[in-house]
Symmetry: C2
Subunit: 208 residues, 2 copies
């Protein structure tokens, strides 16, 4: 509201961007079926018909948002990962990057990760592709570590392990939404504690 609302006409591309941003928020908040085009329209400062001047259908609008936000995630995480460093450091950096994304763009995180209700086959396919790519790239990143555990990074079990990592990390991010006071470092710490060290904390004398 406080941000400039000249209430005037806007060039097509700018309006389109606004619509996408509004759609992101509403879809993330209500889910696909519960979202009415009207809500998106009014959040974008415009009438329903205008949405159809830019996107042919609700479905395509969602898919567009999905792909755009996923690109954003990839860029965000990719930008702050150095390919080098010790395995532990790399994992820590990745976790931090993901939590930082979750912090900056909570709606995008929700839309991309929280399981939603779309039964539409086309949407499902897009979601599946995104998820698949994500799992694959994490598996590549952890290739060395997986091998060290005796797992072929292409094997099914390795894939399962990666899926556990991702789901667990995002579960933590979800929890963070409900407890925003916790600083990011602590989250990273907690995640490393489980994923890197494990719960056993074996026979080690405490490193303190």
């Amino acid at each position: 509201m406080a941000t400039s609302e000249p209430k005037k006409r806007m060039p097509g591309t700018a309006r389109r961007a606004r619509i996408i941003e509004a759609a992101l928020d509403v879809f993330a908040a209500r889910g696909y079926h519960a979202t009415a085009m009207e809500e998106i329209a009014s959040a974008a400062g415009v009438t329903r018909s205008v949405l159809y001047d830019h996107f042919p259908s609700k479905r395509v609008l969602l898919i567009t948002v999905l792909q755009e936000q996923n690109a954003g995630l990839v860029a965000h995480v990719g930008a702050r990962i150095t390919g080098s460093g010790s395995p532990g450091r790399r994992l820590r950096a990745t976790l931090d990057a993901y939590f930082s994304f979750a912090q900056d763009r909570p709606a995008a995180r929700r839309l991309l990760f929280d399981h939603t209700d779309e039964d539409d086959p086309e949407i499902k396919a897009v979601r599946w592709g995104i998820r698949e790519a994500r799992t694959r790239s994490v598996a590549v990143m952890l290739g060395r570590d997986l091998r060290r555990l005796g797992l072929d990074p292409d094997s099914e079990v390795a894939q399962a392990v990666v899926e556990l990592l991702i789901s667990g990390t995002d579960g933590l991010a979800q929890w963070w939404e409900r407890h925003p006071s916790v600083p990011r470092d602590r989250l990273v710490e907690a995640a490393m504690l489980v994923l890197w060290n494990g719960l056993s904390t074996l026979p080690e004398p405490e490193a303190h």
Copy 2:
């Protein structure tokens, strides 16, 4: 279809049970908003109106199913957990119990863990309560281990760790749905590998 379909009248309680089972399947498959009462009705071998003879609304039907299935989960897992045993054994037993539930009642797992699309406040409250209770009971179960890691089981960070555990485990179960050929033992193994030992696999010579 093959199962007895005498097409005749049925005592109320039996019909009610059938409806709940049908509702479970359809809700789990399509999500809340995308589910039409008609689908549930026909899956239960009955007309829409009959649903309203048993439940006052779609919302209440979902809530009933949710609570019933959660009770089932608690019973299932609780039944095969021995309170005693080494911490590692207990964790392994719990994981195995959960995966066994996921195997026996995949629809129930999906309904309880996946969807987030219901905007209805009453449903959200019920879901939240279930989740809360689940987290709490897992935290209690892991109390000793958490303390060993230097975490107060009531602290926020401990809660976060538990949330990571649960989400990760369920993520693995989700993955399993798409790769059903993998035997359950292997899943448990993979989960233990990450959650118990951690990815570092430290300087240990392999314990074999």
